[in-house]
Each structure stands twice: as C-alpha cells, then as structure tokens.
Amino acid sequence: MGISRFVLLVFTISMLASPALSDLVLSKVDRRIYLTSHIVRISSTLEVENAGPETVSKVLLAFPDLQAQNLAYLMASPHEAKAKVKGLTVGASFTFDVLAVFTQALRPMPEQIGQADIQLVLYQDSAYYLSPYVVKVQSLSLKVPDSRIESYTTLQSTKVQGSEIKYGPYENLPAFSSSPITVHFENNLPFAIAQELVREIEISHWGNVLVTEHYKLIHGGAQSKGEFSRLEPQARENVQGPSAVRYLVAHLPPRAHSVYYRDAIGNISTSHLRGDSKKTELLIEPRYPMFGGWRTAFTIGYGLPLQDCLYESEGRRFLNITFSSPMIELVIDTLIVKVVLPEGSSDISVAAPFFMKQWQETKISHLDIVGRAVVVLEKTNLVPEHNQYFQVYYKFNRLSMLREPLMLISGIFFFFVACIVYMHADTSISKFSASYLAKQQWEEVRVAIQQVHNIICRCLATHDKLEASLRDLSRTGEVQACKAARKSTDGLLKELSKELKPLMTFLQSSPSAVQVLSKVEELVAKEKELLEKLMAKHSTAVEAYEKKSGARDIENRIALQQQKITALRQEVDDLLEFIDEI
C-alpha cells in the first residue's frame, strides 16, 4: 500500500515536472507476465539511457492505479550481478530487472461455476509499458498455464506460441502511452488464500524452537454454485472439480521434527512428510476438497533444533528464521507473527527486511512466574516472495535458565517440609486423656529398650574382642597380651552393666512395658550366662598355654565349653532381633 501511494504521488509530481524527467530514455523494455498461478508476476528488464545534460540518480517506475492497489511485492535489482552504479552519467546506460508481484489481479469470469466446470479467469493490462519516459523498443509476453486460451485482444503484432502470447516489438512510443489488452484463459491452479495466519514461534533454550501456524483458508477463485455432491469427485477424481483445492504443499526447514496437522475436531491424517537435506516437504489434504468460496481452518506445528535458528554475537542472542508461511503459492491477507522469548529476556529488538507493524505482549507458558515477552509483528497482503529471514535480538543471562528447575525443586521441597511439619506437630486435643498418656509412656519404654539393645550389642562386641585375643594367643602364644586384653574387657563390661542397671529398673517400674519386660530380662540373663561361659573358657585356655600343654589338648578342653557358648550366642542373637522389631 505504501509503495502504491508513493508511486501515485510521484506520478503527479512527474506530470508537473515533465521537462526534467524527459532526460532519461528507456532504450529497451522486455516485459514478461507470468499468469501461471493465481499470483501474477511481472518481470521487466529495463535498459535506461541518460540522454540529458546532467547525471541522474533516480529512475521512476509507474504503475496504473488499478494495478497498484494489488501490488504486494516490488523489487528492483541490477541485471548483471556485479554492476553497481552511483549515478548515471551523461550518455551511459544501465540495465536492471524489476519484479512486481500482484495479488487478486486475476478476475474469475464467469464468477460462479458449477462443481464440474473449469475455471476461467480474466486478466487486464496494457500492451504498451506505462512509463514517464520515452520508450524506444519494447516487447511483452504473457505466459498462461498449459490450457486453452479462451480469447485475447489482438493488436498489430500479436502472436501465440504454445502457451505464450507475444505482443510487440513496439518502437518509439511516447511517455504514458497505453493500450489496454484483455486475456481470458483457463486457470485451474489452486487459488488458496489465507485470510488470517497466526504464526507463533516459541524459543526454548533447552534445545527446541516450536513453530505453530493457525490457518484460515478460503478458495479465492470462481464461486461455487449449485449443489455439491461428494460422489462425483470421488468417482472420477481428476475430471470433476478441476479448480478445487485438493492439497497444499509446504516446504519446512530441514531437520524439522514432531510435525503435526490438526484442526478443531482433532488430528487430520491425510498428510505426507518427506525430508531431505535442503528442506522437509509436507503435503496436506484438507478434510474436504475446497471449491470456490469455501473455507477451512487448521493448525500446523513443527519443531526445529535450536542450533539452526538461534545464534549469539556481541553479547546478544538473536533468532534467525523465515518470516512468512512455508506454503508454496499461498497469498496471505493478514499475517501475525508472534515470537515468544524465554522468561528473563530483555533488550528486545527486531531487524526485518521490510516494514511491519510491531508491538510487545506477555504470554504465560510452562513453568513461568511473570510470563514470557512476546514480540508481535503484523503485515498485510503477503506473497511467497515475502518469506525472507528476519532477526529478533535479545539479551539473556545464562543463569536465568536455572529458573525452571528451581521452581520444580522448590515445589517438591515444600512438600517435604509439609511432611516434616506434620510429623512434628502435636495434634492431640487433650494432653491428659488416657490414650495420649499411654502413648507417651510407650514411647519412653521404646526408647529404653533401644538403649538396652545398644548396650547388649556393645557387650557382644567386647565378647568378640575376647575371642579375638584367644585366637591371637593360639597364633602367637603370647600370654601377657591375652591377659591384658582380659583386663580391659573386664573394665568395659563393668561399665556397661552399670549403664544397664537404671534402664532395667525403669522398665520394671513402668506399667506399659509388661509385655516386653519378660523378653528383656531373659535377654539380659542369657547375656550374663554367655559372659560367664566365655570367661571360663578364656581362663582355661590361658592356663593351658601357661602350662605349655599340646595344642590338641587345649582344643579338647575348650570343645565342650565352646559348644555351649555358640548355642547361647545364637539364642542371644534371636532375642536381640525380636527386641529390635518392637
């Protein structure tokens, strides 16, 4: 829109300032109009020559008003790749290419067709190139799809070659000359127009860029009239409804994964995905073939690996991704692109190859506290040529990535703290009720029993030490060391029995310990017996060594005592286990 207004303004200025503009002369104009899709592309090669007295730095391009309304994309580039001219000097000439893309320039005629009819469209243009300069030589060729041409305007030098209509060459035409022509031809290529496309790009620094596209499509060709029958297209597929939109092709970036295609009802399974190293091709079929004027809405989503899209330079990160839809030959009326940046991003700016409306929003997504910053870009009237790369710059601190696991950790830790609080809390209503008091006493008994258990274990440890000293004796024959060990163990055992006494008195006095008291007393008694036997064995062994009697002799004397000792030990262990389980 902006371009057309500018062109109209220039148009009026040019009318007033025509003497200055007639300095330039277009020596050769070649126009090629491609009508092979519902998007009209005009590719012109202009050779401009400076016939005036001064150096000129601007060339004006004019478009008729009606055409300018539909202008979606305009680009001019030098014809030879390396040519760079600062200003066109007197007498020099320069060649450049202009590509203009128009939407809705083809008018369906007849405007309403039945289900089985072919679609005919009308295109109007001028055979002479509309220009503020004099054109020396010009030619025009129109390319239509390989189908029949219903009619076309015949002028002086017109010829048809296969699917191309050629007008010209015309020579020495004055400025602003035009001669209207009309071409009426068959165009059955899918007229898919997306009335609204919302494209959401969500960046996750954990390794994925998720793109979700919500389409609202309409068939923009000849409206469908009359009844619709499902049987006919299915019976003879390629004959019926040739202009219906049966499928759409999208070229996704390479290494796209997790592609899904669904609408409000659910998943749509009529789709095919094929990937290679340059692109991933997705072919989708809507739930029904779209005839003229019909609409459909669906969602496509896919994920891209992070290293393909996100880069870092000069302390800022930026996302480099294509702007428009990946579908081929799709006209978009309104495109809204939302780039969702991770939480904690700041200093956001957008670098785009063309103008678009921008603003910022917030979105709350997984594991968010304050929400993510969203950059929203809006543009109208887009064609596939607009699918260029754009960049979104932002600053992000690496430590902000820990925000997400920290949220999970704090949630789980809160649960553990709740458990601790529950265990520590005293929820009894009355502190003097019988059951509460009974529970308290039982707790104390349990503690006492555990302490008894501890002491008995330590006693058994000293027994083991004694046994070890005996084994040492049999190995080395040193009696003095053995006697010293005996003395130390005697001391330890005395201490342990001292500790045991108050516990035993407490257990005997408390009423709730009645059941276990018998077992505990049995344990203590058995342990005492074991100790006595062990001591006896120890003394016999030491005596025997002092007397220096033979090894076998010693063995025999100890054997009986040993048997009793092992039996007792077993019983003590069993009792200990039982007490442990209380």
Partner: protein, 78 residues
C-alpha cells in the same frame, strides 16, 4: 563486518535427556524413601531436624532436575 555468529545449543546435549531423567529420578526416589523411613522409625526424642531437612533438600534437588529432564525428553520443551 560483524563477528561471525556462534550457534547456541542447550547446555546439556539433547541425547542425554532420557538417561539423565531416569538416573536423577531414581536417586531422588531412593532419597525420598530414606527420608520417609527415617520419619517412620525414629521416635520423637531421637529425631534430628537437621537430618530431616538435609535429606528432604537433597531428595528434592534430584527429583526436581529429574522431572525437568523427564519433561524435556517427553517433548515438552519448557
């Protein structure tokens, strides 16, 4: 001429996500089990708040990271 841009990848390689999830969750669950065993077997007097809090804290760290990697390996890129 701007310096060449470096591609950014995730701090943990993608291929490790499922393995890390399983191991971290296993360790976290073992620590949770030990926490609850301690709660159940200790009597009021023997209980130590410091031991409870440390066991709970370490268990929650492992469970938190384990569930994060579980979400990432399932495709929910948080």
């Amino acid at each position: 001429m701007a310096p060449p841009a470096k591609a950014i990848t995730s701090p943990v390689p993608d291929a490790w996500y499922p393995t890390l999830a399983v191991f971290m969750l296993a360790i976290g669950l073992v620590l949770t089990a030990s926490f609850f065993i301690y709660e159940a077997t200790s009597s009021k007097r023997n209980r130590s708040l410091a031991k409870e809090l440390t066991t709970g804290g370490v268990a929650s760290v492992f469970l938190g990271f384990g569930s994060l990697f579980l979400l990432l390996s399932a495709g929910v890129y948080v």
